[in-house]
Amino acid sequence: MTMPFYVAPEQVMKDRAEYAQKGIARGRALVATISDAGVLIVAENPSRTLHKISEIYDRVAFAGVGKYNEFDQLRVAGVRHADTKGFAYSREDVDARSLANLYAQYLGQVFTHEMKPLEVEILVAELGVDGKSDQLYHIAYEGTITDEPRFVVLGGDAETIKNRFAELDQSIQSFEFTLKSAVAALAGPERTVPATDLEVGILEDRGSRRTFTRLDDARVSELLS
Protein backbone atom coordinates (compact mmCIF):
# COMPACT_ATOMS: atom_id res chain seq x y z
CA MET A 1 0.00 0.00 0.00
CA THR A 2 1.36 3.37 -0.99
CA MET A 3 1.12 6.28 1.38
CA PRO A 4 0.59 9.79 -0.02
CA PHE A 5 3.60 11.98 0.50
CA TYR A 6 3.30 14.36 3.38
CA VAL A 7 3.65 17.97 2.30
CA ALA A 8 3.76 20.66 4.95
CA PRO A 9 0.88 23.15 4.67
CA GLU A 10 3.40 25.98 4.60
CA GLN A 11 4.94 24.42 1.54
CA VAL A 12 1.56 23.99 -0.19
CA MET A 13 0.67 27.62 0.35
CA LYS A 14 4.08 28.78 -0.76
CA ASP A 15 3.89 26.75 -3.95
CA ARG A 16 0.44 28.03 -4.76
CA ALA A 17 1.44 31.62 -4.10
CA GLU A 18 4.48 31.26 -6.31
CA TYR A 19 2.38 29.76 -9.05
CA ALA A 20 -0.15 32.58 -8.92
CA GLN A 21 2.51 35.27 -8.72
CA LYS A 22 4.27 33.87 -11.77
CA GLY A 23 1.05 33.97 -13.76
CA ILE A 24 0.29 37.52 -12.73
CA ALA A 25 3.84 38.76 -13.36
CA ARG A 26 3.61 37.64 -16.98
CA GLY A 27 0.80 40.12 -17.68
CA ARG A 28 1.14 43.83 -18.19
CA ALA A 29 0.44 46.27 -15.42
CA LEU A 30 -2.41 48.60 -14.62
CA VAL A 31 -2.57 51.82 -12.62
CA ALA A 32 -5.71 52.99 -10.87
CA THR A 33 -5.68 56.40 -9.31
CA ILE A 34 -7.79 59.28 -8.11
CA SER A 35 -7.67 62.58 -9.95
CA ASP A 36 -9.66 65.72 -9.24
CA ALA A 37 -12.23 64.65 -11.85
CA GLY A 38 -12.80 61.18 -10.40
CA VAL A 39 -11.30 57.72 -10.65
CA LEU A 40 -8.88 57.03 -13.48
CA ILE A 41 -7.76 53.53 -14.48
CA VAL A 42 -5.02 53.05 -17.07
CA ALA A 43 -3.95 49.66 -18.36
CA GLU A 44 -1.51 48.53 -20.94
CA ASN A 45 -3.69 46.47 -23.24
CA PRO A 46 -3.14 46.12 -26.97
CA SER A 47 -6.54 44.45 -27.48
CA ARG A 48 -9.51 46.63 -28.49
CA THR A 49 -12.13 44.10 -27.51
CA LEU A 50 -10.81 42.06 -24.59
CA HIS A 51 -11.06 44.62 -21.85
CA LYS A 52 -9.23 44.78 -18.55
CA ILE A 53 -11.32 47.69 -17.27
CA SER A 54 -15.10 47.50 -17.12
CA GLU A 55 -18.25 48.90 -15.65
CA ILE A 56 -19.88 47.07 -12.75
CA TYR A 57 -22.53 49.55 -11.69
CA ASP A 58 -23.46 53.22 -11.73
CA ARG A 59 -20.47 54.31 -9.67
CA VAL A 60 -18.41 51.12 -9.49
CA ALA A 61 -15.72 49.95 -11.88
CA PHE A 62 -13.70 46.76 -12.10
CA ALA A 63 -10.20 46.13 -13.37
CA GLY A 64 -8.22 42.93 -13.51
CA VAL A 65 -4.81 41.68 -14.53
CA GLY A 66 -3.53 38.16 -15.02
CA LYS A 67 -5.43 35.40 -16.74
CA TYR A 68 -8.19 36.94 -18.86
CA ASN A 69 -10.75 34.15 -18.55
CA GLU A 70 -10.39 34.12 -14.79
CA PHE A 71 -10.78 37.81 -14.11
CA ASP A 72 -13.53 38.11 -16.72
CA GLN A 73 -15.46 35.47 -14.81
CA LEU A 74 -15.00 37.56 -11.68
CA ARG A 75 -16.17 40.66 -13.55
CA VAL A 76 -19.39 38.96 -14.66
CA ALA A 77 -19.96 37.71 -11.11
CA GLY A 78 -19.55 41.29 -9.92
CA VAL A 79 -22.07 42.63 -12.43
CA ARG A 80 -24.50 39.94 -11.34
CA HIS A 81 -24.02 40.72 -7.67
CA ALA A 82 -24.45 44.45 -8.20
CA ASP A 83 -27.47 44.22 -10.50
CA THR A 84 -29.22 41.73 -8.24
CA LYS A 85 -28.60 43.89 -5.20
CA GLY A 86 -29.69 47.07 -6.94
CA PHE A 87 -32.85 45.37 -8.19
CA ALA A 88 -33.75 43.81 -4.85
CA TYR A 89 -33.03 46.92 -2.76
CA SER A 90 -32.18 50.25 -4.35
CA ARG A 91 -29.51 51.51 -6.72
CA GLU A 92 -27.95 53.51 -3.88
CA ASP A 93 -27.39 50.36 -1.85
CA VAL A 94 -24.80 48.99 -4.25
CA ASP A 95 -21.29 49.76 -3.03
CA ALA A 96 -17.74 48.75 -3.78
CA ARG A 97 -16.89 47.63 -0.26
CA SER A 98 -19.39 44.81 -0.15
CA LEU A 99 -18.38 43.68 -3.62
CA ALA A 100 -14.68 43.81 -2.72
CA ASN A 101 -15.36 41.66 0.35
CA LEU A 102 -17.21 39.17 -1.77
CA TYR A 103 -14.29 38.94 -4.18
CA ALA A 104 -11.84 38.58 -1.30
CA GLN A 105 -13.83 35.71 0.17
CA TYR A 106 -14.09 33.95 -3.15
CA LEU A 107 -10.41 34.34 -3.99
CA GLY A 108 -9.43 33.21 -0.49
CA GLN A 109 -11.68 30.19 -0.77
CA VAL A 110 -10.23 29.17 -4.13
CA PHE A 111 -6.67 29.75 -2.92
CA THR A 112 -6.97 27.44 0.08
CA HIS A 113 -9.35 24.79 -1.20
CA GLU A 114 -8.81 24.35 -4.91
CA MET A 115 -5.98 22.69 -6.78
CA LYS A 116 -5.07 25.81 -8.67
CA PRO A 117 -5.31 29.35 -7.34
CA LEU A 118 -6.70 32.07 -9.60
CA GLU A 119 -3.87 33.87 -11.37
CA VAL A 120 -5.44 37.28 -11.03
CA GLU A 121 -5.22 40.51 -9.15
CA ILE A 122 -8.27 42.72 -9.21
CA LEU A 123 -9.38 46.20 -8.36
CA VAL A 124 -12.80 47.52 -7.39
CA ALA A 125 -13.17 51.29 -7.58
CA GLU A 126 -16.02 53.47 -6.48
CA LEU A 127 -16.70 57.10 -7.25
CA GLY A 128 -17.64 58.83 -4.01
CA VAL A 129 -21.00 60.52 -3.68
CA ASP A 130 -22.08 63.47 -1.49
CA GLY A 131 -18.60 64.43 -0.40
CA LYS A 132 -17.53 60.87 0.37
CA SER A 133 -14.10 60.17 -1.04
CA ASP A 134 -13.43 57.82 -3.93
CA GLN A 135 -12.43 54.30 -2.98
CA LEU A 136 -9.93 51.85 -4.42
CA TYR A 137 -9.94 48.24 -3.21
CA HIS A 138 -7.10 46.01 -4.27
CA ILE A 139 -7.71 42.27 -3.97
CA ALA A 140 -4.81 39.88 -4.46
CA TYR A 141 -4.89 36.29 -5.74
CA GLU A 142 -5.06 34.80 -2.22
CA GLY A 143 -7.88 37.08 -1.09
CA THR A 144 -5.91 39.78 0.68
CA ILE A 145 -7.87 42.99 0.46
CA THR A 146 -6.37 46.44 0.85
CA ASP A 147 -7.99 49.85 0.76
CA GLU A 148 -5.71 52.27 -1.06
CA PRO A 149 -6.12 55.96 -0.33
CA ARG A 150 -4.77 57.41 -3.58
CA PHE A 151 -3.50 54.94 -6.13
CA VAL A 152 -2.79 51.28 -6.74
CA VAL A 153 -0.70 49.33 -9.23
CA LEU A 154 -1.62 45.82 -10.30
CA GLY A 155 0.21 43.23 -12.37
CA GLY A 156 3.76 42.51 -13.43
CA ASP A 157 6.53 44.73 -12.09
CA ALA A 158 4.06 46.49 -9.81
CA GLU A 159 6.66 47.63 -7.26
CA THR A 160 8.80 49.51 -9.79
CA ILE A 161 5.77 51.17 -11.39
CA LYS A 162 4.42 52.07 -7.99
CA ASN A 163 7.64 53.88 -7.07
CA ARG A 164 7.76 55.68 -10.40
CA PHE A 165 4.18 56.81 -10.10
CA ALA A 166 4.55 57.90 -6.47
CA GLU A 167 7.42 60.14 -7.55
CA LEU A 168 5.52 61.73 -10.43
CA ASP A 169 2.17 62.19 -8.76
CA GLN A 170 2.43 63.17 -5.13
CA SER A 171 -1.04 64.51 -4.49
CA ILE A 172 -4.42 64.55 -6.18
CA GLN A 173 -3.88 66.35 -9.46
CA SER A 174 -5.81 67.32 -12.57
CA PHE A 175 -7.16 64.56 -14.75
CA GLU A 176 -4.75 65.20 -17.62
CA PHE A 177 -1.70 65.37 -15.40
CA THR A 178 -2.68 62.18 -13.62
CA LEU A 179 -3.20 60.35 -16.90
CA LYS A 180 0.20 61.47 -18.19
CA SER A 181 1.89 60.40 -14.96
CA ALA A 182 0.17 57.01 -15.03
CA VAL A 183 1.24 56.39 -18.63
CA ALA A 184 4.79 57.52 -17.91
CA ALA A 185 4.94 55.24 -14.87
CA LEU A 186 3.68 52.27 -16.90
CA ALA A 187 6.13 52.91 -19.72
CA GLY A 188 9.23 53.59 -17.65
CA PRO A 189 12.17 55.71 -18.78
CA GLU A 190 13.21 53.53 -21.75
CA ARG A 191 10.08 53.23 -23.83
CA THR A 192 6.86 55.00 -24.78
CA VAL A 193 3.47 53.32 -24.93
CA PRO A 194 1.32 54.43 -27.87
CA ALA A 195 -2.32 55.36 -27.25
CA THR A 196 -3.44 52.30 -29.22
CA ASP A 197 -1.82 50.06 -26.59
CA LEU A 198 -3.60 51.76 -23.71
CA GLU A 199 -6.97 51.13 -22.23
CA VAL A 200 -8.33 54.00 -20.17
CA GLY A 201 -11.48 53.84 -18.09
CA ILE A 202 -12.85 56.60 -15.91
CA LEU A 203 -15.52 57.10 -13.30
CA GLU A 204 -16.63 60.69 -13.55
CA ASP A 205 -19.75 62.64 -12.61
CA ARG A 206 -21.27 64.09 -15.77
CA GLY A 207 -24.80 64.47 -14.51
CA SER A 208 -25.95 61.04 -15.60
CA ARG A 209 -26.60 57.98 -13.47
CA ARG A 210 -23.89 55.85 -15.03
CA THR A 211 -20.46 57.33 -14.48
CA PHE A 212 -18.20 54.83 -16.25
CA THR A 213 -16.66 55.63 -19.63
CA ARG A 214 -13.94 53.89 -21.58
CA LEU A 215 -12.00 56.52 -23.51
CA ASP A 216 -11.31 55.82 -27.18
CA ASP A 217 -7.84 56.01 -28.76
CA ALA A 218 -8.41 59.42 -30.30
CA ARG A 219 -9.36 60.93 -26.95
CA VAL A 220 -6.43 59.26 -25.19
CA SER A 221 -3.86 60.53 -27.68
CA GLU A 222 -5.42 63.98 -27.52
CA LEU A 223 -5.10 64.00 -23.73
CA LEU A 224 -1.53 62.69 -23.84
CA SER A 225 -0.25 65.15 -26.44
Binding site: T49, H51, I56, A77, V79, R80, D83, T84, F87, Y106
Partner: protein, 308 residues
Protein backbone atom coordinates in the same frame (compact mmCIF):
# COMPACT_ATOMS: atom_id res chain seq x y z
CA UNK B 1 -20.28 31.47 -9.78
CA UNK B 2 -22.46 29.07 -11.66
CA UNK B 3 -21.55 25.59 -12.87
CA UNK B 4 -20.99 25.21 -16.60
CA UNK B 5 -24.39 24.63 -18.18
CA UNK B 6 -26.29 26.31 -15.35
CA UNK B 7 -24.92 29.72 -16.23
CA UNK B 8 -27.67 32.27 -16.89
CA UNK B 9 -25.51 34.11 -19.42
CA UNK B 10 -26.33 37.75 -20.01
CA UNK B 11 -29.97 37.39 -18.93
CA UNK B 12 -30.85 39.08 -15.68
CA UNK B 13 -34.27 37.41 -15.64
CA UNK B 14 -32.63 33.97 -15.75
CA UNK B 15 -30.18 35.07 -13.08
CA UNK B 16 -32.98 36.08 -10.72
CA UNK B 17 -34.73 32.79 -11.44
CA UNK B 18 -31.55 30.77 -10.84
CA UNK B 19 -31.12 32.56 -7.53
CA UNK B 20 -34.60 31.44 -6.57
CA UNK B 21 -36.10 34.89 -6.29
CA UNK B 22 -38.22 34.79 -9.41
CA UNK B 23 -40.91 37.40 -9.60
CA UNK B 24 -44.13 36.81 -11.49
CA UNK B 25 -42.89 38.73 -14.47
CA UNK B 26 -39.62 36.86 -14.46
CA UNK B 27 -41.50 33.57 -14.59
CA UNK B 28 -41.90 33.82 -18.37
CA UNK B 29 -43.29 30.69 -19.88
CA UNK B 30 -44.16 28.83 -16.69
CA UNK B 31 -47.67 28.29 -15.48
CA UNK B 32 -46.64 28.45 -11.82
CA UNK B 33 -49.04 30.25 -9.57
CA UNK B 34 -47.85 33.66 -8.56
CA UNK B 35 -47.12 33.47 -4.84
CA UNK B 36 -48.41 36.91 -3.90
CA UNK B 37 -51.49 37.04 -6.09
CA UNK B 38 -54.64 37.20 -3.95
CA UNK B 39 -57.28 34.50 -4.39
CA UNK B 40 -59.61 35.47 -7.19
CA UNK B 41 -62.71 37.29 -5.97
CA UNK B 42 -65.92 35.64 -7.10
CA UNK B 43 -66.68 36.76 -10.61
CA UNK B 44 -63.60 38.96 -10.83
CA UNK B 45 -61.12 36.48 -12.27
CA UNK B 46 -60.57 37.16 -15.95
CA UNK B 47 -63.83 38.99 -16.44
CA UNK B 48 -63.82 41.93 -18.78
CA UNK B 49 -64.91 44.36 -16.12
CA UNK B 50 -61.88 43.56 -13.95
CA UNK B 51 -59.63 44.34 -16.90
CA UNK B 52 -61.06 47.79 -17.44
CA UNK B 53 -62.04 49.11 -14.04
CA UNK B 54 -59.45 47.16 -12.11
CA UNK B 55 -59.62 45.32 -8.84
CA UNK B 56 -60.26 47.12 -5.62
CA UNK B 57 -57.01 48.16 -4.02
CA UNK B 58 -55.10 48.07 -7.27
CA UNK B 59 -53.97 51.26 -8.90
CA UNK B 60 -54.28 51.58 -12.64
CA UNK B 61 -52.25 53.65 -14.99
CA UNK B 62 -54.08 55.02 -17.96
CA UNK B 63 -53.21 56.71 -21.24
CA UNK B 64 -49.93 56.44 -23.13
CA UNK B 65 -49.16 57.45 -26.69
CA UNK B 66 -46.19 57.16 -29.05
CA UNK B 67 -45.62 58.40 -32.57
CA UNK B 68 -42.80 58.27 -35.04
CA UNK B 69 -41.22 61.48 -36.17
CA UNK B 70 -38.60 62.24 -38.75
CA UNK B 71 -35.63 61.78 -36.42
CA UNK B 72 -36.99 59.33 -33.88
CA UNK B 73 -40.03 58.83 -31.69
CA UNK B 74 -42.09 60.87 -29.26
CA UNK B 75 -43.57 59.05 -26.26
CA UNK B 76 -46.01 60.63 -23.83
CA UNK B 77 -48.22 59.60 -20.95
CA UNK B 78 -50.61 61.29 -18.54
CA UNK B 79 -49.99 61.27 -14.80
CA UNK B 80 -53.18 59.87 -13.30
CA UNK B 81 -53.60 56.56 -11.48
CA UNK B 82 -57.10 55.41 -10.65
CA UNK B 83 -58.53 52.92 -8.20
CA UNK B 84 -61.96 52.00 -9.43
CA UNK B 85 -63.65 55.32 -10.01
CA UNK B 86 -61.49 57.41 -7.71
CA UNK B 87 -58.20 59.08 -8.40
CA UNK B 88 -55.48 57.17 -6.57
CA UNK B 89 -52.51 59.35 -7.54
CA UNK B 90 -52.13 62.55 -9.53
CA UNK B 91 -48.46 62.38 -10.31
CA UNK B 92 -47.36 58.85 -11.16
CA UNK B 93 -45.13 58.45 -14.18
CA UNK B 94 -45.78 56.04 -17.01
CA UNK B 95 -42.99 56.88 -19.41
CA UNK B 96 -39.49 55.70 -18.53
CA UNK B 97 -36.15 55.46 -20.25
CA UNK B 98 -35.54 51.76 -20.93
CA UNK B 99 -31.93 52.52 -21.78
CA UNK B 100 -30.04 55.24 -23.60
CA UNK B 101 -31.90 54.88 -26.88
CA UNK B 102 -35.30 53.55 -25.95
CA UNK B 103 -38.34 54.33 -23.86
CA UNK B 104 -40.98 52.17 -22.27
CA UNK B 105 -44.44 53.40 -21.33
CA UNK B 106 -46.98 51.48 -19.32
CA UNK B 107 -50.73 51.16 -18.95
CA UNK B 108 -52.66 48.82 -16.70
CA UNK B 109 -52.09 47.67 -13.12
CA UNK B 110 -49.49 50.16 -11.89
CA UNK B 111 -47.73 47.90 -9.38
CA UNK B 112 -46.78 45.03 -11.68
CA UNK B 113 -46.23 47.51 -14.53
CA UNK B 114 -43.62 49.53 -12.68
CA UNK B 115 -42.00 46.31 -11.46
CA UNK B 116 -41.89 45.14 -15.07
CA UNK B 117 -40.22 48.38 -16.14
CA UNK B 118 -37.61 48.03 -13.38
CA UNK B 119 -36.88 44.47 -14.41
CA UNK B 120 -36.73 45.47 -18.07
CA UNK B 121 -34.35 48.36 -17.41
CA UNK B 122 -32.10 46.16 -15.30
CA UNK B 123 -32.21 43.43 -17.93
CA UNK B 124 -31.08 45.77 -20.72
CA UNK B 125 -28.27 47.25 -18.67
CA UNK B 126 -27.23 43.83 -17.38
CA UNK B 127 -26.99 42.47 -20.90
CA UNK B 128 -24.98 45.47 -22.00
CA UNK B 129 -22.49 45.12 -19.15
CA UNK B 130 -22.07 41.36 -19.32
CA UNK B 131 -21.87 41.15 -23.11
CA UNK B 132 -20.11 44.44 -23.72
CA UNK B 133 -22.62 45.45 -26.40
CA UNK B 134 -26.23 46.57 -26.44
CA UNK B 135 -29.14 44.48 -27.65
CA UNK B 136 -30.73 45.43 -30.96
CA UNK B 137 -33.97 47.40 -30.65
CA UNK B 138 -35.91 44.38 -31.80
CA UNK B 139 -34.10 42.23 -29.26
CA UNK B 140 -35.20 44.62 -26.54
CA UNK B 141 -38.80 44.52 -27.75
CA UNK B 142 -38.70 40.72 -27.70
CA UNK B 143 -37.38 40.75 -24.15
CA UNK B 144 -40.27 42.92 -23.07
CA UNK B 145 -42.71 40.65 -24.90
CA UNK B 146 -41.46 37.71 -22.83
CA UNK B 147 -42.10 39.64 -19.65
CA UNK B 148 -45.63 40.54 -20.75
CA UNK B 149 -46.15 36.88 -21.56
CA UNK B 150 -44.91 35.94 -18.10
CA UNK B 151 -47.52 38.24 -16.61
CA UNK B 152 -50.39 36.42 -18.32
CA UNK B 153 -51.60 34.54 -15.20
CA UNK B 154 -51.76 37.84 -13.33
CA UNK B 155 -53.49 39.50 -16.28
CA UNK B 156 -56.15 36.79 -16.09
CA UNK B 157 -56.78 37.84 -12.50
CA UNK B 158 -57.27 41.45 -13.46
CA UNK B 159 -53.70 42.70 -13.11
CA UNK B 160 -53.06 43.30 -16.79
CA UNK B 161 -49.99 45.25 -17.88
CA UNK B 162 -49.83 46.68 -21.38
CA UNK B 163 -46.54 48.34 -22.19
CA UNK B 164 -45.52 50.28 -25.22
CA UNK B 165 -41.94 50.20 -26.36
CA UNK B 166 -40.36 52.81 -28.60
CA UNK B 167 -36.83 53.71 -29.44
CA UNK B 168 -34.28 54.78 -31.94
CA UNK B 169 -32.86 51.89 -33.94
CA UNK B 170 -29.17 52.74 -34.25
CA UNK B 171 -28.64 50.15 -36.99
CA UNK B 172 -31.58 51.17 -39.18
CA UNK B 173 -31.28 54.83 -38.19
CA UNK B 174 -34.95 55.34 -37.55
CA UNK B 175 -37.46 55.52 -34.73
CA UNK B 176 -39.56 52.39 -34.15
CA UNK B 177 -42.61 51.63 -32.04
CA UNK B 178 -43.75 48.27 -30.67
CA UNK B 179 -47.12 47.46 -29.18
CA UNK B 180 -48.00 44.38 -27.12
CA UNK B 181 -51.04 42.36 -26.25
CA UNK B 182 -51.71 40.56 -22.97
CA UNK B 183 -50.45 37.25 -24.28
CA UNK B 184 -47.06 38.70 -25.08
CA UNK B 185 -47.75 39.35 -28.76
CA UNK B 186 -45.33 41.92 -30.09
CA UNK B 187 -46.34 44.06 -33.05
CA UNK B 188 -44.46 46.81 -34.79
CA UNK B 189 -46.40 50.03 -35.36
CA UNK B 190 -45.35 51.94 -38.43
CA UNK B 191 -46.85 55.32 -37.56
CA UNK B 192 -48.26 55.73 -34.06
CA UNK B 193 -49.86 53.87 -31.20
CA UNK B 194 -51.77 54.64 -28.04
CA UNK B 195 -53.17 52.41 -25.33
CA UNK B 196 -54.72 52.57 -21.88
CA UNK B 197 -58.20 53.75 -20.98
CA UNK B 198 -57.92 56.97 -22.98
CA UNK B 199 -55.95 55.28 -25.73
CA UNK B 200 -58.79 55.33 -28.23
CA UNK B 201 -59.26 59.06 -27.96
CA UNK B 202 -55.54 59.70 -28.05
CA UNK B 203 -55.15 57.47 -31.08
CA UNK B 204 -57.95 59.20 -32.97
CA UNK B 205 -56.39 62.60 -32.28
CA UNK B 206 -53.00 61.44 -33.51
CA UNK B 207 -54.61 59.79 -36.52
CA UNK B 208 -56.24 63.05 -37.63
CA UNK B 209 -53.03 65.04 -37.36
CA UNK B 210 -50.47 62.45 -38.41
CA UNK B 211 -48.57 62.48 -41.66
CA UNK B 212 -45.34 60.87 -42.82
CA UNK B 213 -42.10 62.61 -41.97
CA UNK B 214 -43.52 64.65 -39.12
CA UNK B 215 -40.88 66.88 -37.52
CA UNK B 216 -40.10 66.38 -33.82
CA UNK B 217 -41.73 69.69 -32.85
CA UNK B 218 -44.96 68.84 -34.65
CA UNK B 219 -44.90 65.33 -33.22
CA UNK B 220 -44.61 66.69 -29.67
CA UNK B 221 -47.47 69.07 -30.38
CA UNK B 222 -49.59 66.19 -31.62
CA UNK B 223 -48.76 64.00 -28.61
CA UNK B 224 -49.71 66.82 -26.23
CA UNK B 225 -52.96 67.36 -28.12
CA UNK B 226 -53.69 63.62 -28.02
CA UNK B 227 -53.30 63.52 -24.23
CA UNK B 228 -55.45 66.62 -23.85
CA UNK B 229 -58.23 65.12 -25.94
CA UNK B 230 -57.97 61.81 -24.07
CA UNK B 231 -58.27 63.64 -20.74
CA UNK B 232 -61.23 65.55 -22.16
CA UNK B 233 -63.12 62.35 -22.95
CA UNK B 234 -61.85 59.77 -20.47
CA UNK B 235 -62.37 60.18 -16.73
CA UNK B 236 -59.34 58.02 -15.90
CA UNK B 237 -56.92 60.19 -17.87
CA UNK B 238 -55.45 63.23 -16.17
CA UNK B 239 -55.07 66.53 -17.96
CA UNK B 240 -52.53 69.29 -17.26
CA UNK B 241 -52.67 70.41 -13.62
CA UNK B 242 -51.21 73.95 -13.32
CA UNK B 243 -52.35 74.26 -9.70
CA UNK B 244 -49.97 71.50 -8.59
CA UNK B 245 -47.55 71.90 -11.49
CA UNK B 246 -48.20 68.37 -12.71
CA UNK B 247 -47.95 67.87 -16.45
CA UNK B 248 -47.87 64.78 -18.62
CA UNK B 249 -44.49 63.22 -19.28
CA UNK B 250 -43.31 63.82 -22.82
CA UNK B 251 -40.07 62.21 -23.98
CA UNK B 252 -38.19 62.25 -27.26
CA UNK B 253 -35.88 59.45 -28.33
CA UNK B 254 -33.60 60.18 -31.25
CA UNK B 255 -30.03 59.58 -32.32
CA UNK B 256 -28.66 61.43 -29.31
CA UNK B 257 -30.71 59.34 -26.90
CA UNK B 258 -33.65 59.59 -24.52
CA UNK B 259 -34.61 63.10 -23.45
CA UNK B 260 -37.52 64.02 -21.23
CA UNK B 261 -38.99 67.45 -21.88
CA UNK B 262 -38.86 69.72 -18.84
CA UNK B 263 -42.24 70.36 -17.18
CA UNK B 264 -42.05 74.06 -18.01
CA UNK B 265 -41.81 73.25 -21.71
CA UNK B 266 -44.76 70.86 -21.52
CA UNK B 267 -46.71 73.53 -19.64
CA UNK B 268 -45.96 76.05 -22.40
CA UNK B 269 -47.14 73.61 -25.01
CA UNK B 270 -50.44 73.15 -23.20
CA UNK B 271 -50.91 76.92 -23.04
CA UNK B 272 -50.27 77.12 -26.79
CA UNK B 273 -52.64 74.22 -27.43
CA UNK B 274 -55.42 75.77 -25.34
CA UNK B 275 -54.87 79.07 -27.12
CA UNK B 276 -55.29 77.51 -30.51
CA UNK B 277 -58.31 75.47 -29.36
CA UNK B 278 -59.96 78.64 -28.03
CA UNK B 279 -59.19 80.47 -31.24
CA UNK B 280 -60.70 77.62 -33.20
CA UNK B 281 -63.90 77.76 -31.15
CA UNK B 282 -64.24 81.51 -31.46
CA UNK B 283 -63.59 81.43 -35.19
CA UNK B 284 -66.30 78.80 -35.54
CA UNK B 285 -68.74 80.99 -33.64
CA UNK B 286 -68.02 84.01 -35.83
CA UNK B 287 -68.52 82.15 -39.09
CA UNK B 288 -71.57 80.21 -37.81
CA UNK B 289 -73.37 82.50 -35.39
CA UNK B 290 -75.92 80.68 -33.26
CA UNK B 291 -79.10 80.77 -35.34
CA UNK B 292 -81.68 80.22 -32.58
CA UNK B 293 -80.63 82.50 -29.77
CA UNK B 294 -78.63 85.71 -29.71
CA UNK B 295 -77.94 85.03 -26.03
CA UNK B 296 -75.91 81.91 -26.66
CA UNK B 297 -73.01 81.81 -24.21
CA UNK B 298 -69.99 83.60 -25.66
CA UNK B 299 -67.59 82.27 -23.08
CA UNK B 300 -66.86 78.61 -22.82
CA UNK B 301 -67.75 77.19 -19.42
CA UNK B 302 -64.72 77.16 -17.17
CA UNK B 303 -62.84 73.95 -16.93
CA UNK B 304 -61.10 73.00 -13.75
CA UNK B 305 -57.96 71.89 -15.55
CA UNK B 306 -57.59 74.99 -17.67
CA UNK B 307 -54.33 76.77 -16.87
CA UNK B 308 -54.75 80.22 -15.41
Amino acid sequence: MFPVGGDPGPSFVDLVRAAGGASGIAEAGTAARIPWSPPAAPGAGGSDSSMTTGRPGVWHGTTIVALRSLGGVVVAGDRRATEGHTIAHRGIEKVFPADRHSAVAIAGAAGPAIEMVRLFQTQLEHYEKVEGSTLSLEGKANQLAQMVRGNLPMAMEGLAVLPLFAGYDLRRRTGRIFSFDLAGGRYEELEYYATGSGGRDAKTTVKLGYRDGLGTEKAIELAVNALYQAADEDSATGGPDPLRGIYPVVAVVDESGYRRLPDTEVADRFVTLLGSLAQHRNAAEVTNPPATSANAPQIAPEREDEPS
